[in-house]
């Protein structure tokens, strides 16, 4: 039992401290949105709200390829999320619940690949993608994100999961594939939600890989386009901030609705290290 009085000087000091931290985290984003409505050439605190306009937004939509970039980001991210559920689930199930020769050595290889940062394999991956004729394709942006991390995560989850339920399914004369889809997959729901959120952020914010293999404007994702926007219009602050605000909206909206799962999902990536 806490018997302390709640409103001690310590409490007020802590309150000020966390309020400052929260403000410092949020204010830059508020500033981003405010600047996006202006055509300021000199930046300052003093916003003239009467001069706010949507000019920058209409420029982003009309003159830049924003809709194309948005479409590319959405397609790449959605397909990556779906595949990163299906393919690792299957492998994780086999690793967790089936016996086969060389299983533990095989899984060691999976774990070892987790220690390879994607930047290390960038150059050979570029050659492989080029040799496969996949330059400037969605496929090339999607496939490398389906890695051992999902397998590792789901296997951890399945390991703690009793075999008896599966045996019950077997008695009912369930086929292996049907049992996986009807019994195992529904039980993995919570871990899959975390994995999807983690994958969503990774894919949406991915930069170096799409920069290297998808430079053509018609396949460029939003994050790559943002960097281009900044280098092409460096002094048009309002325009750059309008593009940035729009690119931030999808992850931000999902974050607002799925906060708890979001935090869990992203914190999971800590295991990856």
């Amino acid at each position: 039992m806490r018997t302390h009085k709640k409103y001690t000087p310590q409490y007020w000091a802590a309150l000020v401290l966390v309020l400052i931290a929260a403000l410092v985290s949020v204010v830059p984003f508020v500033y981003m949105v405010l600047v996006s409505f202006t055509q300021m050439e000199i930046l300052s605190f003093n916003f003239d709200f009467s001069e706010f306009s949507l000019v920058n937004y209409s420029t982003v939509f009309r003159n830049l390829d924003f809709m194309t970039n948005l479409k590319n980001s959405v397609i790449v991210t959605v397909i990556t999320c779906i595949l990163n559920c299906i393919i690792p689930s299957m492998a994780a199930y086999a690793f967790a619940k089936k016996q086969f020769p060389g299983k533990s050595k095989f899984f060691m290889v999976y774990l070892a690949t987790l220690m390879i940062p994607s930047q290390v394999t960038l150059i050979p991956m570029f050659f492989i993608v080029r040799a496969l004729g996949l330059m400037n394709t969605y496929t090339a942006m999607i496939l490398p994100l389906i890695n051992a991390f999902g397998v590792f995560l789901i296997k951890q989850f399945l390991d703690s999961f009793p075999d008896e339920l599966l045996e019950a399914g077997r008695i009912d004369g369930c086929g292996e594939n049907r049992m996986f889809v009807t019994i195992v997959v529904p039980l993995m729901k919570s871990v899959l939600v975390s994995l999807v959120i983690f994958t969503f952020i990774t894919s949406w914010n991915n930069f170096l890989w799409p920069l290297v293999i998808a430079s053509k404007p018609n396949v460029q994702t939003l994050t790559v386009a943002l960097a281009t926007l900044k280098s092409n219009y460096s002094t048009n602050y309002g325009l750059v901030m309008a593009g940035s605000t729009l690119a931030f909206l999808p992850p931000f909206i999902i974050y607002i609705f799925l906060q708890r799962q979001f935090v869990e999902g992203i914190a999971l990536s800590g295991i990856k290290g």
Binding site: L19, A22, A91, A94, N205, F207, T223, F252, I266, G273
Partner: protein
């Protein structure tokens, strides 16, 4: 009747195959190719030429590598302690004083920078740190003259560190907070009975109980230091001079601006060795903990 041990082997292999093919093509084969390429000179126009250890020798005299390593070391020694400490303190304060909707709101607010891309953060902070931007305006209120945050050789790396800390604290906060929630409440209750103060409880209960979490946070922060790219690409391009040059930026420029694919692969392997050593040290430490 005993089941044959490997009855399901065919099924298992079929289920693993798609995932394994992807890992083979995008992890295992590339790391082997990296090693092969590192002994060659290859400009993508003429075929690769075997150059033995030349690329490795060049690592030692390349000013970009020297600058990248120096910057990474400084970056690590600034960001890792600061972000770890801030995250730990805020997690402890929120867990101790604000287990309420208010505390949740603070955590949510501090997590917002985590979900934004580094590219977006780079764009945003370029504008915030402009010579006439809001940070300098704010400092002007106290009579401080404008600071060239990103354009000065002496400050640019420091600015990149601050932004990186700003982005990552919320992430580590969540990890620490989860760790604190796992500490048995009885420990604190017993300390209360003994009349321990907040600070004593923090130092003698919270900090020791979080040692493996702290180790994870420090290791992750260190590995991330070796991977900095998006932020310096958008903020400074590695400059002014080589003041914010990083290993990944050097790999990118060497490969995709100078088309020295062989040498760039050697740098990538160097980076891999650094990250591997840190990961192995972490695994060793955690094994000892358990």
């Amino acid at each position: 009747m005993p089941k044959p041990k490997y009855k399901d082997a065919g099924f298992a292999f079929a289920y693993i195959l798609p995932s394994f093919l992807l890992i083979l093509v995008f992890s295992i084969i590339p790391i082997i190719m990296d090693v092969g390429l590192s002994f060659t000179s290859y400009n993508m126009i003429t075929s690769p030429e075997w150059t033995g250890l030349d690329n490795y020798k060049r690592l030692f005299t390349d000013p970009y590598i020297g600058a990248s390593i120096k910057n990474t070391v400084i970056f690590t020694f600034v960001t890792v302690p600061v972000q770890t400490l801030l995250a730990l303190v805020f997690a402890a304060v929120i867990a101790d004083k604000f287990r309420s909707h208010f505390g949740e709101a603070v955590k949510s607010a501090m997590f917002i920078p985590v979900i934004a891309s580094m590219v977006l953060i780079g764009n945003l902070w370029t504008i915030i740190l402009e010579p006439h931007g809001i940070v300098n305006n704010f400092l002007g209120l106290f009579g401080i003259s404008p600071v060239n945050w990103l354009g000065s050789k002496h400050l640019s790396l420091f600015s990149v560190c601050i932004i990186s800390i700003w982005k990552n604290v919320g992430y580590f906060l969540v990890i620490f907070y989860a760790g604190i929630m796992d500490i048995p409440a009885e420990l604190y209750d017993a300390a209360d009975v003994d009349g321990a103060g907040t600070m004593q409880k923090f130092l003698h209960i919270t900090v020791p109980a979080l040692s493996s979490v702290t180790y994870l946070v420090v290791t992750l922060g260190t590995i991330w230091s070796f991977q900095v790219f998006d932020l310096v690409y958008t903020l400074t391009g590695g400059g002014p001079g080589l003041s914010t040059q990083t290993l990944v930026l050097t790999i990118y420029n060497t490969a995709f601006r100078s088309y020295e694919m062989g040498y760039a692969s050697t740098i990538a392997l160097l980076m891999f060795v650094f990250v591997l050593v840190i990961s192995i040290l972490q695994k060793k430490f955690l094994a000892k903990e358990d």
